[in-house]
Symmetry: C2
Subunit: 402 residues, 2 copies
């Protein structure tokens, strides 16, 4: 038999790589991995206030929160970071009551410059304290209305590049400026992103891992339409939220065929949610992939003490085990249990430590993974046309409210 | 043509109701709606400590946290509630540092009495401060090892009835005792559950709503395998987490045919996640139902002030709008946008206010909904066999660790 075929149901790895390299000239986040931080650090070192209050929503806060939440108890930070994002009045009030507004820097972050929630909250803050160049910073696009406000009031501002989308903006001024102000080493953050960037674009280890994973997720999306990130550290709760936005908003799209695509992200915290969500994973419908994240070194020697509790001697085998060992053994037990089932796709990422570099590497790799998935799915990862209709309806409702 | 059929692909509403009525004799949570609270209140009024530290995980804390988080900023509470649940050492350490242990009551909650995480943390607390009858309370099953510990040390304990599962236990001592101690009116909570209970079992409005919803979810589960709860109040974040456990762990099961069933719960916070997850809902694959929760009265008059911000005059239409109005208009805009698409199943629950009764009614109705879904799916809502394998593996790993 002679035989030929052109079976190539999907794009090749090399094709995807070529597309990403080309896209890198247009889409700004790729190159944030090695951006110049001197202006950020200079500004940060000039900030005297102890309370740093970020006003923003979605991509303007989630990445910063992810890094801050991961690191804040492991670093000696000189200042506290607060996030005002929700329009829930009870939440706004209770959060503001805890902040000394006279010793606060207000950072207003909005890419468009006219985000309803952010400006509403900023107006409210203005009714409590005078916001001016001494206690206010703006991070926005250069030609936005918010920047016009900053200029009119001689308020310092940093730009969000036009070609960097909100959910991909954590390594721009959006994330780096607030983090630098509270004392996080943003050069170490960028060292993490650069390592991943270089490995990917040199088609090294990161490239192989990311492309393999993206291909698997996309090729099996009809069956496994849910991607669960199972983080074995409570400190990764912010990362989970950031991942959910990145994944959901980037990959929930109508593709070139007019088909509604979408991989649904779920983020859970291992040591808590293995008492909740794990049952569903183990015995529920096979519609989920699992990505477990472990932290190798917690740099914390908290130990279960050797204390006798009469009646509970059965649990004395716990004595002298470090909590960091317990949590990682919990992760290993879950992974082993999943692998024994042999029908749940599962990968395990172990990050080194609770450090700037570890979290930044993880996040940058997830950004790359998102971009590569989008290529395989023939969708645009960087827009969000689906939320515009709701915004227009809201504006109408608000304008006719009075 | 003469014609007959026995088409009845699924169980009838009346059959399900009959099964639930029968089950009510065996499964304890149904009758918690009208349990006697006098012993709980008596104990609560005797507590002198200001810091109430609950040690527990999953069903031992999620329901309590849901109610506490919903109410804590709207009630004048005399004490603070803390939850120690994760084994993450950084989390344990940072939480404990914030608590005055000398003015703390430690409540150890574990249905089995031998939950590894809970006892590990309790042992650690014992190394920091002497835990005895003056500052410790136990909530567990009557014949557990933890109760043996309590008896041996003359420590007060409350029972968790054998026939009340952890994730259905919020209206037992598990939830009511800690909530009563911090000053929440647990009789108002039970007034909420009782109203829903009575309406359901009299086959009133609640019954119709719950059975219709459960039937829809189950009959369409092949297509819509994800159920999103979209809560338009940040105060419902705890409710979302509780719902995720209740739904995931109850409905992720192997059914009588040996088929892996499971409806996947997702909980999102409206005013934040409409900047994140909404894109996926609108343009992503049609695999999700949506349940929007609104709060009618926030009992909070925080208003967007009439303040001019030069450059941002375009947003002056926001002036004088109350935040509670803004958040509800955001919800309405989202609902309208979803309904306009005409292909996303969506229901809207509007609860009255930020009150004990509102949150309790909502939670009890979700418990009923879960039970009814389980009947339609031919599964047991009350066990969790899928997590046992992991527990056994963990125990082996820990015992051989030394």
């Amino acid at each position: 038999m002679q035989y030929q075929d052109n079976f190539n149901p999907t794009i090749s790895d090399e094709d995807v790589f070529g597309q990403i390299v080309k896209e890198k000239e247009l889409i700004g986040y790729y190159n944030l991995a090695s951006c110049d931080t001197s202006a950020y650090k200079e500004y940060a070192s000039s900030v005297k206030q102890k309370n740093i209050v970020v006003m923003g929503i979605g991509g303007s806060t989630l990445g910063t929160y992810a890094i801050y939440k991961f690191l804040k108890h492991s670093k000696k930070l000189s200042k506290k970071l607060y996030f005002l994002e929700t329009t829930d009045p009870i939440d706004i009030k209770s959060k503001i009551e805890r902040i000394d507004l006279n010793d606060a820097l207000f950072i207003v972050i909005s890419k468009s410059g006219t985000t309803v929630e952010t400006i509403s909250i900023f107006k409210y803050i203005n009714s409590l304290i005078k916001c001016d160049k001494h206690n206010t910073l703006v991070i926005t696009e250069s030609d936005s209305k918010l920047n016009a406000y900053a200029k009119a009031n001689d308020i310092k501002s940093f730009d969000i590049p036009k070609n960097v989308g909100g959910r991909f903006s954590v390594f721009s001024a959006v994330g780096l400026v607030p983090l630098s102000i509270v004392g996080i080493d943003i050069d170490k953050i960028l060292a993490g992103t650069k390592e991943v960037h270089d490995s990917f674009f040199a088609q090294g280890e990161t490239y192989s891992r990311v492309v393999k994973k993206a291909r698997f997720f996309v090729e099996n999306k009809s069956c496994f339409n849910i991607n669960v990130v199972f983080s074995y550290s409570s400190r990764l709760e912010g990362f989970n939220k950031w991942y959910i936005q990145l994944w959901g908003e980037s990959l929930g799209k109508i593709d070139v065929d007019g088909t509604k695509q979408g991989l649904t992200p779920i983020g859970i915290i291992g040591p808590i949610d293995q008492h909740s969500f794990l049952q569903l994973i183990v015995e529920g419908r096979r519609d989920k992939t699992l990505s477990v994240i472990k932290v190798e070194h917690f740099d914390n020697n908290l130990v279960i003490p050797q204390i006798k509790l009469e009646g509970l001697e059965e649990l004395d085998y716990l004595d002298n085990i470090e909590f960091s060992s317990l949590i990682n053994k919990q992760a290993d037990a879950t992974i082993e249990c999943i692998n024994n089932l042999q029908d749940i796709p599962c990968d395990v990422m172990t990050i080194d430590s609770v450090s700037e570099k570890s979290i930044a590497s993880l996040m940058y790799e997830y950004e790359l993974l998102t971009s590569v998935c989008a290529k395989f799915m023939y969708i645009d990862a960087y827009n969000q046309p689906g939320v515009e209709a709701g915004k227009i309806i809201l504006k109408q409702k608000l304008k006719t409210a009075k």
